[in-house]
Structure formats: structure tokens, C-alpha cells
Amino acid sequence: MKKTITLHVNGDVYELSVEPNETLLDVLREELALTGTKKGCDSGACGACTVIVDGEPILSCMTLAVRCQYKEITTIEGLAQDGVLHPLQKSAIERGAVQCGFCTPGWLLSAKILLENNPAPTREEVRTAIAGNICRCTGYKRIEEAILAAAGQNTE
């Protein structure tokens, strides 16, 4: 039995009819065509599907869409504002923190919340913040440096 819900995503409002057991991940990707949110494991283990809901990074594969009524959702498509890249995005590009790119949206959103709550994190705090985002390509060093650099810190 489908339910009608209202989702606020990246500043837009959507009226949607969804199954009660549909995940936020599937609704974002399949109904709203916001395919920047990635499905890596569909079981809450890889972090590729991380989005921000009411200021918290969450795993959209482990969250039912019906539970997100009226909450503020930010996906990777909403990170750049009016075509201007977020400092984390710029930093990721400049620091070579992107290889295959499949984990990138997830860790960028985890890092966004980290920097909002803690504008000058230590490397350990950065590591803790992205510990739920698996990257199989980079070895994490560039990712950590990109986040530290976006926070205006010297990474040398």
C-alpha cells in the first residue's frame, strides 16, 4: 500500500507516493533521479549512500523514505550552491582526493557535517568522521588532507 509523503531535498519540495518499505536511497535515485547518491552495499556498511538529514549524516540505504517526511535532506547535488563548488569539493579536486569517485559523495557529506560542528578538526577527528565511508582507491591520505585543507589547515 503506497503512502504519499513530502520530501524536502536540496531546497526543493517533492510530493511522492512510495511503498512503506522503500529506502530513502532508492527514492532519491529512482524517483528523484538524484543518482549522485551511490548504492555500494545496500546494507549500511560502506557509506557511499551517505546523505544529510536535518544536519546529521545518515546512511540512506538504512533509512525508510517515509521516515523523512518534512525533514531537510541534502544530497551531493545540493552541496554546490548556485554553481559554486563547496570548499570541500574544491579541496577534493585540488588535493587529488578523487579516484574512482564512487565513495566521494558520501565522504564529502560526512565531512561537511564534521566541519560545521568542528571547524578546526585534528587529523584523528577527520579520520573518525569518515571512518564509516569506505574508500578502496585512495588509502584515505588525500581525503584527510582535502578535509583538513578545506578547514584551512596546513597539512604538510
Binding site: K38, K39, I76, C100, R127, I130, R136, G139
Partner: protein, 777 residues
């Protein structure tokens, strides 16, 4: 300034810089398109029912209830598909026929209007099996009395150089002989014998396998896939279905979310093709779940490697005998050539006068092992580099010195008989030693330091082709079938074209591989793309440049040798104030319809005969690692304090990217060394999830120092070689050697878990030597 392969000082504009990766912006904004982001009108969704037995005969399959489920558009079984595929050895059906050979093998495919319906339909299918005896350990499976997994092995079609043994489970036996090992052992003062094992590990790219297949009534096939190598994939399909290659079009997803060797062959592709063969004129998508990734895709070969080495009292290596068993699982896949490369490098990158290698690729009733970052390198180096350390320490020789005394240098002969050229392994060892202050820096209590080096063969001889299209406005498109799997080839290839053609990098774009348009490339594997495709695009760009210069020479009434192209303009050499823009050159000749097409095809020059996986390598991947560890004697935990990694990459076209590859490989090496391992009960995987199969997170990564050695290759583009598959190779043995240095225990079975370390410490305290191998399958 840089020195190119011929020793000439050259000034490059772009080569050797690290421009921003061309794919980075689309990836940080979520706009990069991967296979699962592609939707086609009328697309159906596939799901596969999988075997619940490791080895069983299929007695009957009842799909009638599934077919009646609303939304189901078709059901397919192996009986509908009289095909086998396989690159090296054609032994694998698209879906199981007559029997299943591993738990997780595809048996029935269902296509429905959505995934949920397809999943529901699977529940309605009944399959009856008769269980057969199964075998899991490669040394057991290699025995004559082992249950046969492929009774028909002797009749399978296979590539040249592959040597299956009829009536056994050995689908390739590779042999290498140099000198006389028995004589060598007789002349030796000491003989060392060790056995090393590695477990089964997974690529764990974050993006699962996916494919969409459409087959029309005339057997014309279009396949969209995240396959690493569109042409290799196309050939495997055409061979399997016995149709012309031009009937098959393989279109790569624009970006692939990690590969590491695991996205070659036919994985999700096979399921999508199986369904589309029966259900015509509809695109059918198959996306693997994470569980299917672990149970039904590709893994790294578990291995058992015996080494026997004879040395003189002064530490001179005299003879080495190597016996290797590669557990390739239920089907050969890339196993026969993994086994071959393992054998080629089995004795290590050392000059040893007498060598005998026997490398066996053995079927078992487990999931299929294939290519994974290093392609036998990590297992082989785990064995020979641990073994080298054991010998050095037993003889009281410094492990670095022992290696330096035996690693080959230019002019030496490889074990295979090939002359070594353009290789800088010694330099890698020297750099690591210098940086870590080997032999001089003091270490603390329970801390230790280890060193290891490596070689890894490059698949030779295989070709790569490219076109360079110069547009009316002077912008450039590179048509190349190298896929972008995260390694950065898109950027590197565009850099080479911009450099060679003399245009700004921003003018150059690389097309997405599509066998209908982009020309032949053997594969995006084996760390071969910068070297092979780099050469092809360099030739194509040079061809385009010469054509533009010829046109400009006519316009300017100048000699071609007096002209050059810089920043998109043709100049008379030494007259920078009179630029002639490329679009004007084209316009003056062709009006508004001007274009120039450059073409390039690179095929390595062969010194010895061989057209399929020769033992002659156009180059070798080489490197050395040093590590510092601290061992906790109470818990058995090992903390890696720092990794020093040096790799000979020939010439860094994009240095930042090269370092990125090394750092990523260290992550792979950490996982392989310490905690990655499939756990089994019989044929059942107990940890088919990223929750229970742990890969390194940011928390597990050590400090790293990456060093690029640039020993220019005489045939490489600007001297470049490759780097992608190297840096996970020497790390595990370097760690094991450091653990021995720290606490005096030797671990011979990967992964190095705390319980193995504790157990070894306990046995050492009780005065015992090594325990038995622990994970023989």
C-alpha cells in the same frame, strides 16, 4: 627538464606536471555517470537464483510458478544456453548446466518489470540437486584421487601456452627451468625450505558489477557494462555465442567505480546476456548485490607456495625450486594466466643460476578466482620475500644487503632468459633504505623494521590503438578504449595528446569507450594503459600534428621542418609573434568542414616468439617497501608505524596520480596483510558482507612515504611504465619481516591476525619453531 628514454634532455609543457584530474569535478558534484545510473526505456530487471551446494548434479528445475507471477517477463536456465565462455580456457556456462560447481553459481535467471518482482519470482523456483563430493584445498584438489570438477577438461578449447592436464583438476601447469637445481642444491652449503599460504580475498570496489544487455532478433548484441575492457569482453561474448565480433557492441559506462582486476571477463554481463538471449528486443539490467559480489563474482586466488633454496656459506644464491598451487575455484577465468605469471615471477627478482618452477592452477569447489591487483604478484612476493628474509637472518646477513647482492639490474638475465633493460629495482631498494635510515636508526622495544621488494610481469604482447580527432575549432577528441576505473588514465592520456599535439589540455577530451567507435585495446589491466595506450595516443597525436603542419606549410609556403605547434597555434620556429591558429589552418584548406584524423597503434616489439602471454615482458613492475611496526605482546596486535614505498614508474606523466596509486595500493596491502579473508564452512561463505569482511577504513591506515623512481623505459611514452598494481605487492612480506625483527616470530600464513601472532609468541616461548600452515585453502 627531464631525460627521455633516449637520454636526451627534453622540456615538457604538461608531462610531469599534475594538472587537476579531468574527471574530478563531475565526481565531486555527483554528476559522474556509472552503470547503475543508466536507465533505458522498457528496461527489465534481472535476478539470478544461485546454487546452494558446492558441488551437485542438477536433477530438475521447475520454473512454472515463477513464470506465472505477474510482472515476470521471462525465465532462463542453462538448458536454454548451449554456450561456454572463458578468456584463457572455455569452461564456463552462462548459467549452470547439468551440475553446479560452487555455492553461489547462477542456476536460473528471471527478468521482471522491477527487481522486487524478480526477487519474488526466485522464491517460486524449485531446483532438485544430487550432492557430489566437493574439494576446497588446492593441494588436495591437485591429487589424482580428488573428485573431478570438470570431467570434460581435456576437451575444452584453450588459448596457446595453457597446459590443462586431462583427467585432473589442474587447468594449467606452467613450468620454468633454468640450469640444474639438483646440481645446485648439491653444491650448496645450506638448504632452506618453507611453505607460505594466502587466503581468499575480495576486490571490494564500492561499485558492484552491473550490465545491461539488449539482443535483437538478428543476434545483434548491445551491452552496457562496467567492464574494464570492452574489446576483451566483446571477444569473449562473440566466441561464446559463436557470432561475428561486429554483431557485438560493448559500451562502457562513462565511469567505473573501482576495478582492481575484478571487472574483467563476464560477471553480471553473463547473467544479462543469458536473459537477453531468451528475451529479445528488451534491454535487461543485472546489478550484483554485495552478497553476490562476495559469493558469485571474482576473488583473489588462495595460494600455497613451497620454496626450497640452496645457498653458499657466504650467502650466494645457487638454486631455487618453487612449487605453487593456485586455487582458481570452479572455473578457470583468468586463473591459467595468473598461474603463469606467478610461475614467471616465482623465484623473485633475483639472479639465481639454477631455478625450477612448477605452478599449478587448480579447480576447487569455491567461487571463481581471477585477476586482482597484482595478478599473482602479492602471493608470490609474500612467499619469496618472507623466504629471503628467513635465509638472510639465519645466515646473519643484513636483509637489505642480501637482496642488493642478488636483485637483477640492466644487462642481467631474468629467470626466463630475458635480458633486463630499463629497470630500477636496485634504486627502489636504495631509496627506501636511505629514507628509513636502514641499519642506523634505533628502534624501540617490541618494534621492528622490515624490507621487501617485488617484481610483477606485464601482459605481453598485446596491442592498443587510438584515434585523435581534431575538430573544426581546433579542439581535440581522443578515441581510446581505455576505461576510467579510478586510475586516472583519462587525464594521463589527454595530457599526452595535448603535449604531443601542442594544444592546451582544456581543448582535449577523451571519449567513453564504445567498440562501435573507439578503436581496439586489449585491456585496461596489468598496469599497461599508460605504457601501451599512452604510446598509441602519442602516435595518433603526432600523426595529427604532422598533418596540420603539412597543411600550414602549404598556407605559409614554408618547409614543414620549420614549423611547430604550441598552445594551439602553428608557428614558424623562432617567430612567436605570428601565430597561425589551428582552426585557421583547417579553414584555409577545407572551409567550415575541416578536420584532421590522427591514428596510432602500439604493439610491443618482441625479442622472443610468442603471441599470447609470452614470458618476455615489455617491462616489469618493480618496487620496494620498508616498514616499521610495533607488536603488542599481550594482544598480538601489530601497529604499522610507517610505510616507505618506492616504485620504478619509468617517468611520472602525472606524479600526483602515481603517488595516489601507491597510497591506494598500500591500503590494499594493509587489508591483505592483516585482516581481509573469506571465512568458510565447507563451500559457504560466512562473511559475505562489508560488515563482516573488513576492509581498511581511515582508522587502519599507517603513515606513508611514497617515492617515485624514474628509470626511463626505452619504449615507454616519455619513458613511462606503469604503477597501479605494484604497491600492494611488497607490503605484506615487509610487515612480516618487521614483525620478526621486532619479536622474533615468523608468520607464514596470511592474514597476520593477532591470534596467529600470539600463538607464534607462545610457541617461541616454549622453544618451538614454526607451526603448521594454517589456511591452506
Amino acid at each position: 627538464m627531464a631525460i627521455d628514454g633516449t637520454g636526451v634532455m627534453e622540456q615538457y609543457r604538461l608531462v610531469g606536471n599534475s594538472p587537476i584530474r579531468l574527471d574530478a569535478k563531475s565526481k565531486v558534484t555527483g554528476r559522474a555517470v556509472y552503470i547503475e545510473d543508466i536507465q533505458l526505456r522498457g528496461m527489465l530487471y534481472g535476478k539470478v537464483l544461485r546454487s546452494k551446494y558446492a558441488h551437485a548434479r542438477i536433477l530438475n528445475i521447475d520454473t512454472s510458478r515463477a513464470e506465472k507471477l505477474p510482472g515476470v517477463k521471462g525465465v532462463v536456465t542453462g538448458a536454454d544456453l548451449p554456450f561456454v565462455h572463458g578468456e584463457a580456457l572455455m569452461d564456463k556456462p552462462l548459467l549452470a548446466r547439468d551440475k553446479v560447481r560452487y555455492l553461489g553459481e547462477g542456476v536460473v535467471g528471471v527478468a521482471a518489470v522491477d527487481e522486487r518482482t524478480a526477487e519474488e519470482a526466485l522464491e517460486l523456483i524449485e531446483v532438485n540437486y544430487e550432492e557430489l563430493p566437493a574439494v576446497f584445498d588446492p593441494t588436495e584438489a591437485a591429487k589424482p584421487e580428488a573428485p573431478l570438477i570438470h570431467e570434460e577438461l581435456g576437451s575444452y578449447h584453450h588459448a596457446p601456452g595453457i597446459n590443462p592436464i586431462k583427467g585432473t583438476n589442474i587447468c594449467n601447469h606452467f613450468q620454468l627451468r633454468k640450469g640444474d637445481v639438483e646440481k645446485g642444491f648439491a653444491e650448496s652449503d645450506h638448504i632452506f625450505e618453507d611453505t607460505f599460504t594466502t587466503g581468499m580475498v575480495h576486490h571490494s570496489f564500492i561499485e558492484p558489477h552491473g550490465a545491461i544487455c539488449l539482443i535483437d532478433d538478428d543476434n545483434r548484441i548491445t551491452l552496457w557494462a562496467n567492464n574494464d575492457s570492452p574489446y576483451r569482453c566483446r571477444k569473449e561474448i562473440a566466441n561464446a555465442l559463436n557470432i561475428p565480433t561486429s554483431n557485438v557492441r560493448v559500451i562502457s559506462a562513462p565511469y567505473i567505480g573501482g576495478n582492481f582486476g575484478g571487472k574483467g571477463g563476464l560477471q553480471a554481463e553473463a547473467c544479462a546476456i543469458a536473459l537477453a538471449w531468451k528475451i529479445r528486443n528488451k534491454p535487461i539490467r543485472m546489478m550484483y548485490t554485495r552478497e553476490e559480489e562476495f559469493c558469485s563474482a571474482i576473488v583473489r586466488h588462495p595460494s600455497v607456495i613451497h620454496l626450497k633454496t640452496g645457498v653458499k656459506r657466504d650467502g650466494t644464491l645457487i638454486a631455487r625450486q618453487v612449487k605453487m598451487y593456485w586455487a582458481t575455484g570452479a572455473y578457470a577465468e583468468k586463473g591459467p594466466t595468473v598461474c603463469r605469471f606467478g610461475g614467471v615471477s616465482g623465484a623473485g627478482p633475483y639472479t639465481i643460476p639454477n631455478v625450477r618452477v612448477d605452478s599449478y592452477c587448480v579447480y576447487t569447489n569455491r567461487q571463481v578466482a581471477g585477476a586482482m591487483r597484482g595478478y599473482s604478484g602479492p602471493q608470490a612476493a609474500w612467499a619469496y620475500e618472507s623466504h629471503m628474509d628467513i635465509i638472510a637472518r639465519e645466515l646473519g646477513i643484513d636483509p637489505l644487503e642480501f637482496r642488493m647482492n642478488h636483485v637483477y639490474t640492466d644487462g642481467d638475465e631474468h629467470t626466463t632468459g630475458q635480458e633486463i633493460f630499463s629497470e630500477g629495482l636496485k634504486e627502489c631498494l636504495e631509496k627506501v633504505a636511505k629514507s628509513m635510515e636502514w641499519g642506523t636508526k634505533p628502534v624501540g622495544k617490541d618494534r621492528g623494521r622490515g624490507i621487501a621488494c617485488m617484481e610483477r610481469a606485464i601482459k605481453t604482447p598485446f596491442g592498443s590503438a587510438a584515434f585523435v580527432k581534431v575538430n573544426e575549432d581546433g579542439t581535440v577528441e581522443v578515441l581510446s578504449s581505455t576505461t576510467e576505473v579510478g586510475q586516472g588514465s583519462e587525464t594521463v592520456l589527454c595530457q599526452i595528446v595535448a603535449e604531443e599535439l601542442g594544444v592546451p589540455l582544456e581543448w582535449v577530451r577523451k571519449a567513453t569507450p564504445d567498440t562501435a567507435f573507439t578503436p581496439y585495446d586489449a585491456s585496461t589491466t596489468s598496469s599497461r594503459s599508460t605504457f601501451h595506450m599512452g604510446n598509441a595516443v602519442k602516435m595518433a597525436a603526432a600523426d595529427a600534428r604532422e598533418q596540420i603542419i603539412k597543411l600550414a606549410a602549404e598556407s605559409l609556403e614554408a618547409n614543414t621542418e620549420d614549423l611547430e605547434i604550441k598552445d594551439g597555434n602553428v608557428y614558424l620556429k623562432g617567430v612567436p609573434e605570428e601565430p597561425l591558429p589551428i582552426p585557421r589552418v583547417l579553414g584555409e584548406h577545407y572551409g567550415p568542414s575541416g578536420t584532421v584524423l590522427g591514428r596510432g597503434f602500439y604493439f610491443p616489439e618482441m625479442k622472443v616468439p610468442g603471441k599470447y602471454f609470452s614470458t618476455f615482458m615489455i617491462f616489469w613492475l618493480l618496487g620496494a617497501h620498508g616498514v616499521e611496526v610495533e607488536v603488542n605482546r599481550q594482544t598480538g596486535e601489530v601497529k604499522v608505524l610507517k610505510v616507505y614505498a618506492a616504485h620504478d614508474i619509468g617517468k611520472a606523466i602525472h606524479p600526483s596520480n602515481c603517488v595516489g596509486m601507491i597510497e591506494g595500493g598500500i591500503g590494499f596491502g594493509i587489508g591483505f596483510a592483516f585482516f581481509e579473508e573469506f571465512m568458510f564452512k565447507g563451500g559457504t561463505v560466512l562473511n559475505p558482507s562489508l560488515l563482516s569482511y573488513k576492509v581498511p577504513t581511515a582508522m587502519e591506515m599507517p603513515e606513508t612515504e611514497s617515492m617515485l623512481v624514474e628509470c626511463a623505459h626505452r619504449e615507454g611514452p616519455y619513458g613511462a611504465k606503469g604503477v597501479g598494481e605494484t604497491s600492494n605487492v611488497p607490503l605484506p612480506p615487509a610487515i612480516a619481516n618487521a614483525i620478526y625483527d621486532a619479536v622474533g616470530v615468523r608468520i607464514k600464513d596470511l592474514p597476520i591476525t593477532p591470534d596467529k601472532v600470539l600463538d607464534a609468541l607462545k610457541r617461541k616461548a616454549q622453544g618451538e619453531k614454526d607451526g603448521p600452515p594454517q589456511n591452506r585453502a
